[in-house]
Symmetry: C2
Subunit: 407 residues, 2 copies
């Protein structure tokens, strides 16, 4: 338990019946769990959700880090969805839940008999949430999707890459995690609305559609020019400098982003002065942002020469203190080595019986501290507890269901 974080109970009493897997759905419910909701993963008794074995974990054969990173703060129960009694159990839980959420392949949840029509009748207050790759009514509504498919088909890959180069898959999994965040916003809004209406909502989001919202700024360029936004235009056509520049000692991530805002000529004056060209600070050829575009090569050469005399962290510190926007290209190792992420609770250690894992938490501070990470559940760890507290089943009932292969 870290002093830098605290247990948040903003969503105390909100029961989430979680049939999600991999990343997009689990991201939504992980945030809700970190903010205090009672999130119960429903998993296959034979191995659990597929994310549990995706890549290595702290121990051979144990839950993968992949699972740990997307399922902190949740509970796990096992239910065999191939058993009719198992499906009945899920329905009984849905009757007690505030939120039901799934991200299975198109049509699967309906085939299981757990579609919106069924569950909303059992519980009209239920908020029924679905994450799919493509939207209902899209030509691709039956297609399978993974993060990179959504990023390609949603417009994000086309705007990422070097100028003149091929499209690049962004490192952030915006197709998955980005979509999960939008569903989380929607569920919380539906909870707020329900306090007035008493009614649930059917919520659906497509990973492809979510990308359009995250990249809606690129539609600005289309409106201006009638052409798709190009990728890799340094600063997207703004005045220089707005690019990454190489630093000492020249490793793959020894770069710093240096930026001068369109709106603030002081950025340029400070940059020219600190980088040894004070005579350019007030020269209208450079100070005027539209004219400076014509001197991009000279400006970039000046910044490159200066940056190569500094490490990325020195560069960020010196430029930052001078009031020039600058960001060192931190990699995961740099981030884990920076002590204030831990002292501020942004990076926490997930203490797990299989081994510890240092990972980022939900980064918003509530009255000074972000939410505490608690560990991801072992498969079926909370089966007894949840069936008792949600459904009132006794220990012998639960044992019977286990013996029959229902849970």
């Amino acid at each position: 338990m870290s002093d830098a974080a605290h247990q948040l109970n903003c969503l105390a009493g909100v029961r989430v019946l979680d049939l999600t897997q991999f990343e997009a759905g689990p991201t939504c419910t992980e945030v809700m769990a970190q903010l205090g909701a009672d999130v119960v993963k429903v998993e296959n008794p034979k191995g659990g959700e597929p994310g549990r074995i995706l890549g290595a974990g702290p121990k051979p054969g144990a839950d993968a880090y992949y699972f740990m990173v997307y399922n902190a703060n949740k509970k796990s129960v096992t239910v065999n969805l191939k058993s009719p009694r198992g499906i009945e159990l899920v329905k009984e839980m849905a009757a007690k839940a505030d939120v039901f959420i799934e991200n299975m392949a198109p049509g699967t949840i309906e085939k299981l008999g757990l579609g919106y029509d069924v569950l909303s009748k059992l519980n009209p207050r239920l908020i029924y949430a679905q994450v799919k790759g493509f939207g209902e009514g899209s030509p691709y509504e039956r297609n399978l999707a993974f993060d990179m498919i959504a990023q390609a088909a949603g417009g994000n890959m086309a705007i990422t890459g070097e100028y003149g180069g091929r499209p690049i898959r962004p490192g952030a999994t915006l197709g998955d995690t980005g979509t999960g965040m939008l569903m989380c916003i929607s569920i919380l809004s539906a909870i707020i609305e329900r306090q007035t209406t008493g009614k649930g909502r059917r919520l659906q989001v497509a990973m492809q559609d979510a990308q359009l919202n995250y990249t809606r700024g690129s539609f600005v360029n289309y409106a201006r020019t009638g052409k798709p936004q190009e990728r890799g235009r340094a600063g997207f056509g703004g005045p220089p400098p707005s690019d990454i520049f190489p630093c000492k000692p020249g490793g793959p991530n020894d770069w710093v982003y240096v930026f001068n805002s369109h709106n603030n000529p002081e950025h340029w004056r400070r940059t020219a002065t600190i980088m040894g060209k004070p005579e350019w600070a007030d020269d209208p050829e450079f100070l005027d942002r539209d004219k400076r575009v014509n001197h991009a090569d000279e400006v970039n050469a000046m910044v490159t020469a200066w940056c190569q005399q500094h490490t990325k962290k020195e560069a960020m510190e010196i430029l930052g203190k001078a009031g020039i926007p600058a960001g060192a290209v931190y990699d995961t190792g740099d981030l884990l080595a920076e002590p204030t992420f831990e002292s501020r609770g942004i990076i926490q250690t997930q203490h797990h019986p299989n081994g510890d894992f240092r990972m980022p938490t939900f980064p918003v501070r509530f009255d000074g501290k972000p939410p505490q990470i608690t560990r991801s559940p072992l498969l079926g760890e909370h089966t007894d507890e949840v069936f008792q507290s949600w459904l009132g089943l006794g220990a012998s009932d639960v044992k019977g269901l286990k013996d029959e292969g229902v849970i």
Copy 2:
């Protein structure tokens, strides 16, 4: 008004006092406005927030598309924050508000006399939200930040790019819009909590910190290997194919992402069969995912040869129907040309007196339809209405304040 969307009132009655600018803060309040909150932008009477003039708009001299895309569905009032009476007016509004939000440079809001300590005393139910570049307690807490600075310093740029190439700025503005989404989640959670506690919250998020959460999957690789995640590993080391492949007719965005999941050998069988290598479908050298990694060149050559016989849309359609995950690299032009985005309400037209603008809305469907986009406000368009409804000021009071240069 499109039939494909509807006005949502999930957040009806939630009053948001919005002192944000540019993109990170405005994203948060735009989502809230689209979901039905009463969002009132407080702007400088002389020109409004700086986003209004960032780049071109539909008409010379009118609001920029940049402003339109991040400020749909909101209201605007003008207040001169250099006038003591103007500051008093903001305080009076804060006393009536549910949410106060700002993303000014570090220390600015406190210097204005509108800090958390001041406003939370006036209104203990107020949810007070701040978006900054770097967190309190970070070595860079006083630094300026823009989207790309946060993406560099938050770990996102280091994992984006070609293998062996330099880091690349992702096209999506995750530093801004991504951060705004996390703040939106937090505000909604605080609203839910307040219904029990009766108390507001102080919420703070840093754009740098937000990047760590969006890229937390990259911490998995660090935990496994002790090394920072590299960029540009096709499929991040998974079995081939997992990459983009060039299609007819060879334009800059004529690519398709083709993926085979680790977990599903059927993907490979289908891929080999459809691409003319049925003899590889069940060959253990190819079917076994770990062995297939050793045949990456042959597999990628097969996929490349097949893709070059098809356009990206044909490829996506054929592969998708065959149950192989595939995503054409859609650019903004492709997305705007695809009619189902409009018929499903994902892309809507913002009808603005200065000219129309086709843009994506918040993409989650609530009972079948996403929220309706209404246009961004003209500067001060709602000054009379809001001062009357929030503060009970009459027309002559408002006129007096205008004459005195207060609003």
